[in-house]
């Protein structure tokens, strides 16, 4: 379990501590008590429990990616739900955070898209 001060990365998720939630960000609903910060098509999501936390999504994100924000009223763990090759849990102190979900470039489609795993 790791901690950080300003920036961290868990797999394809780039995490940064911020001072405010950008205007226009839209609330994200929790699913089964969890905020899914990073979706995985194979079910190996990056998640955070919903208690005393609010998560938002940027109204406009760079092409092919999502940007999420969180307000955490208590320490929260970002957990990678994979039994093997697991990205170690990162503990977030109370505060506000930005999560940038990595993208990549598809040379055949000639466009940016999310990194799917």
């Amino acid at each position: 379990m790791k901690t950080f001060n300003q920036t961290a990365a868990q797999g394809e998720i780039h995490i940064k501590k911020i001072n405010s939630i950008p205007h226009g960000a839209l609330p994200v609903k929790a699913e089964n008590g969890l905020y899914i910060i990073g979706h995985s098509e194979t079910g190996h999501c990056h998640v955070m429990t919903m208690e005393r936390a609010q998560v938002f999504e940027a109204a406009v994100s760079p092409a092919g990616m999502r940007v999420l924000y969180a307000i955490l009223d208590e320490p929260k763990e970002l957990v990678h739900q994979r039994p093997h090759d697991t990205h170690e849990t990162i503990v977030h102190a109370p505060g506000m955070y930005e999560f940038r979900l990595g993208r990549e470039y598809d040379h055949y489609a000639d466009l940016a898209r999310k990194q799917a795993d």
């Binding site: 950080f4 780039h14 093997h84």
Partner: protein
């Protein structure tokens, strides 16, 4: 009984051997005697005071799901309807024409001649024999004479006792071969379109509609209709959760925290991590992908054996559970030691054999470099590369995996696996790669430019390690000049906005 607060040296040293024994059970590929499996499931029901239900033994969890789907779709009703409609003289013709010709013809019409022939050849005879041997004698005579209340019992006794095993085992034993030979790579499409849709559309509609209304009142409520909801919730609560809670409470009272933690860590946790999480989740995901009505398994048998091992360990050091709890645990242990996944429905249950092949790497992840990593006797299985599910052709002769496929595969985990399978050296050589920029930090990576087939311009990739130490290739635009600029772009940032993470996991 005095609370156990310390393990003896001997008890402590017995943990590794005990754990290994249970891991072996969890990874077991031994085929169980179906009658023992049925007895084990019956024991489960007995142990919680539930009425026993007919239990079908299938070769795989997929077989259980498909069988449950078929029963829900009314294949049982179709057989029954035929029987009812042809109580007079034509039972044989109708069964043959309506059921077996439909299966055969429709599958053949869909250019699955091989499947159709196999099903007809392999299933038809067996089922015909079973139907003739059992329906004609046991049911027809009884139905003719006793079409009232006895019909239920007759159908139940005759079909369940004599036909169910034959039909289901024959269907699935033989479809298993077809799946293996004909559908292995395309199981979803073929099952859905060629078997599922044909059975559903042709048998159900052709036969059920004609006859069902006539005998609805007589037979509704029979066992065929009683495959109701998946009763996993009830069963899990009854069978497992209460038991786990009771065992937990009992152990808490009788065994010290330190010892319990030690056993959890060294036995239950280890087994769960190696077997339950790795194998179970892969199978579960795989089946969920199919276009069948997905049913969550009620219990996962040998793939969920960690907690049984945990509970059982304390018995080996002299702990005794209360009699009622012991009975339940014994039933659970018998089931977990004997069976694979179990699906309990209202009125019947399907239980799977264990896999026939399980191949793991040194870290107990599903892995095989030459073929399927897990396989069941009916042909269901899949390939995996160090725990990552991959298309079968990638390691089965590697015919379908070329450099272009590997480097451009959409799923980056699978792409990583593909690149590992082929090896970076081969990929870089075949794509005439050149290094554009190599950062000293492997977590920032190396920017390479390659020539991809059918692309006019060269393409750039960032060859980079993640926090787990695994190496990925991430496509970046051609304008990217340095590895760190690539990192910034991947995160939607300009170079000046990007800060290297303090921590990477």
């Amino acid at each position: 009984m005095k609370k156990i607060i310390k393990l003896t040296t001997e008890q402590e040293s017995s943990i590794p051997e005990f754990r290994q024994k249970w891991i072996a059970l969890g990874e077991s590929t031994a085929r169980s005697d179906p009658s023992e499996m049925i007895d084990a499931v019956n024991d489960l029901y007995d142990s919680i005071g539930q009425k026993r239900v007919p239990v079908f033994v299938m070769d795989s969890p997929l077989g259980c799901i498909v069988a449950a789907n078929l029963f829900k779709a009314g294949i049982g009703a179709n057989i029954r309807d035929n029987i009812r409609d042809n109580i007079g003289d034509n039972i044989g013709d109708n069964i043959e024409e309506n059921i077996w010709d439909n299966i055969g013809d429709n599958i053949q019409e869909n250019n699955q001649e091989k499947i159709g022939v196999n099903i007809r050849d392999n299933i038809g005879d067996n089922i015909r024999e079973s139907i003739w041997a059992n329906i004609s004698g046991a049911i027809v005579n009884n139905i003719c004479d006793n079409i009232g209340d006895n019909i239920h019992d007759n159908i139940r006794e005759s079909i369940w006792a004599n036909i169910s095993g034959a039909i289901v085992n024959n269907i699935w034993d033989n479809i298993g071969d077809n799946i293996h030979d004909n559908i292995h790579d395309n199981i979803q499409v073929n099952i859905q379109e060629n078997i599922w849709n044909n059975i559903r559309n042709n048998i159900e509609e052709n036969i059920q509609v004609n006859i069902w209304d006539n005998i609805d009142d007589n037979i509704q409520g029979s066992i065929w209709d009683n495959i109701g909801d998946n009763i996993r919730g009830n069963i899990v609560t009854d069978i497992q959760d209460n038991l786990v809670t009771n065992i937990g409470t009992n152990l808490w009272a009788n065994v010290s925290d330190g010892i319990r933690d030690n056993i959890v860590k060294n036995i239950a946790g280890d087994i769960e991590e190696n077997i339950k999480e790795n194998i179970k989740e892969n199978i579960q995901h795989d089946i969920r992908e199919l276009s069948l009505a997905y049913e969550n398994a009620t219990l996962w048998g040998n793939h969920d054996i960690g907690w049984i091992a945990y509970a059982s360990f304390f018995e080996t050091i002299g702990h005794r559970y209360p009699a009622a709890l012991e009975i339940k645990l014994k039933a659970q242990r018998r089931y977990h030691e004997t069976c694979g996944w179990l699906y309990c429905f209202d009125g019947m249950a399907f239980v799977s054999q264990r896999p026939s092949v399980v191949k793991l790497d040194d870290n107990a992840r599903l892995h095989c470099e030459t073929g399927t990593a897990i396989k069941y006797a009916d042909g269901y299985g899949f390939c995996a590369w160090h725990g990552t599910r991959i298309p079968d052709g990638w390691v089965d002769g590697k015919k379908s995996l070329d450099v272009k496929t590997a480097i451009t595969w959409a799923n980056i985990e699978q792409r990583r696996a593909a690149i590992e399978i082929l090896g970076w050296a081969k990929i870089l050589k075949e794509l005439d790669a050149k290094v554009i920029d190599a950062d000293s930090d492997p977590l920032i990576g190396t920017l390479v430019e390659v020539k991809l087939p059918n692309l006019r311009n060269p393409a750039r990739f960032l060859r980079v390690k993640c926090g787990t130490g695994r190496e990925f290739a991430i496509g970046v635009p051609r304008e990217i000049k340095t590895a760190i600029q690539g990192q910034a772009w991947m995160n939607g940032l300009s170079l000046s906005e990007f800060t290297c993470p303090e921590v990477r996991t």
